[in-house]
């Protein structure tokens, strides 16, 4: 049977002639019960005159770290106030623990956290951004050199790794890319149909879906899915390799991590993205076709002819070209943050987040740039 826990409390006796205050420690001092507040104790003391504190532990029940930490705090505070604490009366176990915790003097680590002003923070952050840009440019240069080196004689290229990567970012990605594209095709057709029906122009749903998919949505959808899927996995994988010193092990073996890890991933995505984009186009158009046939009563032949009539080769080409660049963006942002990951698992998490955010941002930026270029070229 367990005895009811006694509430922890302190009884402070009045000051005696020697400037001595005796404090009676009563009850059970267990961590997860409510312990008396240290500040209150100091407030209760007859202020200036106190010279020594005597603790009386005769009514102490059970105790654990709660009591030790309390007493340590008292000792620290007493040093600050120039009050003596008589440690002789501490229970044996408590005294040993306290001795142990004070046996190794605190080391001067040389690290100081100085309070920073707003301007300092601003300057610091600006420098960090500039350094980031600098590392990214260096990374781009390294990767370009890496590309050149795979044709040189000192190449480090493991076909089996390349095939695994290729599989991970192609066949394994088909279901999710397909699903997203099908849904976007369906949605577009559905929304378009409701509007076009008002004018009796349902047939143009085929144009709408076909053009939108091929010029924009196919490449964009595939790229965004791949950022979240493959880009993130690159960042996590390389980040983990950084944490477990695997990348250092490559470096000290004279194998460049860029050549060994980044270049194959980049090549894989550059090869795969146009194909994924094509696949997304087809599936998206099938989505539109389902709406056309099931909801708008078009015939299969009608829908397909209309789709082909709407599109030119230029449209197809513009989407495909973009997807190659999207592939580069996805692989580069994943690998960049992975390679430059910090040394902890928290850093891997940050690397993944950054790679996805940066990847998607740059995809949109690249898309906009191409919109302008294609407009100027009249494609």
């Amino acid at each position: 049977m367990q005895a009811e826990a006694q509430k922890a409390s302190l009884e402070v006796s009045p000051l005696n002639n020697d400037g001595n205050v005796s404090i009676k420690v009563c009850g059970d001092w267990i961590l997860d019960t409510k312990l008396p507040d240290r500040k209150e104790l100091w407030n209760q003391l007859p202020s200036e005159a106190t010279a020594t504190l005597d603790f009386d532990f005769s009514s102490l029940g059970k105790w654990d770290t709660g009591l030790v930490v309390f007493l340590l705090g008292c000792i620290e505070e007493s040093v600050r106030r120039g009050v003596q604490i008589n440690q002789k009366q501490f229970p044996d176990g408590v005294r040993k623990l306290i001795d142990l915790s004070q046996a190794v003097p605190e080391k001067q680590t040389g690290r100081t956290e100085e309070p920073t002003s707003f301007l300092q923070t601003l300057g610091h952050n600006t420098r960090e951004v500039l350094e980031g840009v600098n590392t990214f440019l260096a990374f781009t240069g390294e990767v370009t050199m890496g590309f050149a080196r795979i044709f040189g004689k000192n190449k480090v290229f493991r076909p089996i790794d390349f095939i695994t990567i290729l599989y991970q970012c192609s066949a394994a990605a088909l279901p999710i890319v397909g699903l997203i594209s099908l849904l976007s095709g369906l949605t577009m057709a559905f929304v378009g149909a409701v509007q076009l029906q008002k004018f009796g122009a349902e047939i143009f749903v085929a144009d709408l879906v076909g053009l939108a998919m091929v010029r924009e949505m196919g490449a964009l959808m595939a790229a965004i899915v791949m950022t979240g899927r493959t880009g993130a996995s690159f960042a996590a994988q390389l980040g983990n390799m950084r944490v477990s010193e695997e990348i250092d092990a490559l470096e000290t073996m004279g194998i460049r991590p860029i050549d060994f890890l980044v270049v194959p991933r980049l090549i894989a995505l550059i090869l795969v993205m146009p194909l994924l984009c094509m696949y997304a186009n087809v599936v998206g158009i099938i989505g539109g076709y389902l709406v056309g046939v099931l909801m708008l009563d078009m015939s299969t032949h009608q829908y397909i002819t209309q789709t082909f009539k709407a599109m030119s080769l230029n449209d197809l080409f513009s989407g495909e070209i973009k997807s190659i660049f999207f592939g580069m963006v996805v692989a580069a942002s994943g690998c960049f943050y992975g390679i430059h990951c910090g040394q902890s698992s928290a850093a891997v998490g940050r690397a993944v987040t950054r790679s996805v955010v940066t990847g998607i941002t740059f995809i949109i930026v690249v898309d906009a740039v191409f919109a302008v270029i294609f407009h100027i070229l009249g494609i």
Binding site: K107, T109, G110, R111, V156, R158, D161, T164, N240, M241, S244, E245, E246, D248, A249, L250, E251, T252, M253, G254, I255, R256
Partner: protein, 253 residues
């Protein structure tokens, strides 16, 4: 070949992470073909020193010379070719997790030699048997124990018969018998390959059995306080910290 003699000379080295100086004024020589142990309390900067010696970190001051060759001042491609003569065992093993043990040990061989794949397989099998892992060549690093990972990493480190070997706490996490075997292996590598070996360790038993020379890094003063044969250091080092370390703190009373 650039490597006439195989000594490593650390000259006025200062190591820092940003503005935080880990160690300064390090001056010592690692004799060629000898085992030198770097010792010191936890967190004093032993791994950091090792990372400087293998070129993963740049010193903020001073230099490291391999033979007559200034490693810190060399350009990157020279350093890369230099690194082929290094074998490194990391504190955590750092095996490439997407490859089997066989592939891990084989990669340096594939990269730097013209050997046929059957020859490479034989060498790999031999190196794995040296560390007592002959049956495990098809295992992935994730599927073996921590101590085994460490031994496999050692097999990878010695794949190319390196001239310089760097071990970061090789026997941490090993049972006494494996740890003893590892010490024997280290001595054999010294004698058969004539390798220059730098070991970070705080296992006293292995320090006394393998070290030809020991360097003590002191966290308090942030520099090397003493160096010499471990048994001499234990007896007559003028620094109580060194004697205390080598006698498990017993001189302290």
């Amino acid at each position: 070949m650039i490597l006439g003699n195989r000594q490593i000379k650390v000259d006025g080295l200062e190591m820092a992470y940003g503005s935080f100086v880990v160690m300064r004024n390090l001056d010592f020589t690692v004799e060629g073909g000898k085992v030198t142990v770097i010792m010191g309390g936890s967190g004093c900067g032993k791994s950091t020193l090792l990372r400087h010696m293998i070129g993963l970190l740049e010193p903020s001051k001073g230099s490291i010379k391999f033979g007559d060759f200034d490693f810190t001042a060399a350009d990157e491609s020279t350093r890369d070719s230099m690194k082929q003569s290094f074998g490194v065992l990391y504190q955590g093993g750092a095996l490439w997790s997407s490859m089997t043990l066989e592939e891990n040990v084989a990669l340096p061989l594939q990269t730097y030699t013209q050997l046929s794949s059957s020859e490479i397989r034989e060498i790999v099998e031999f190196k794995l048997s040296l560390v007592g892992l002959s049956g495990f060549s098809q295992f992935f690093p994730g599927a073996i124990s921590g101590g085994m990972r460490k031994r496999a990493a050692l097999a990878r480190a010695i794949a190319l018969d390196p001239k310089y070997l760097f071990f970061d706490e090789p026997s941490a996490g090993l049972d006494p018998v494996s740890s003893q075997r590892l010490d024997d292996l280290i001595l054999q590598l010294r004698d058969t390959l004539g390798a220059t070996i730098v070991v970070v360790s705080h296992e006293l038993a292995s320090i006394f059995s393998i070290a030809d020379h020991a360097v003590y890094l002191d966290a308090e003063t942030r520099t090397m306080t003493d160096q010499g044969r471990p048994s001499d250091l234990l007896e007559k080092s003028p620094h109580p910290g060194v004697r205390e370390f080598l006698s498990r703190g017993k001189t302290n009373g």
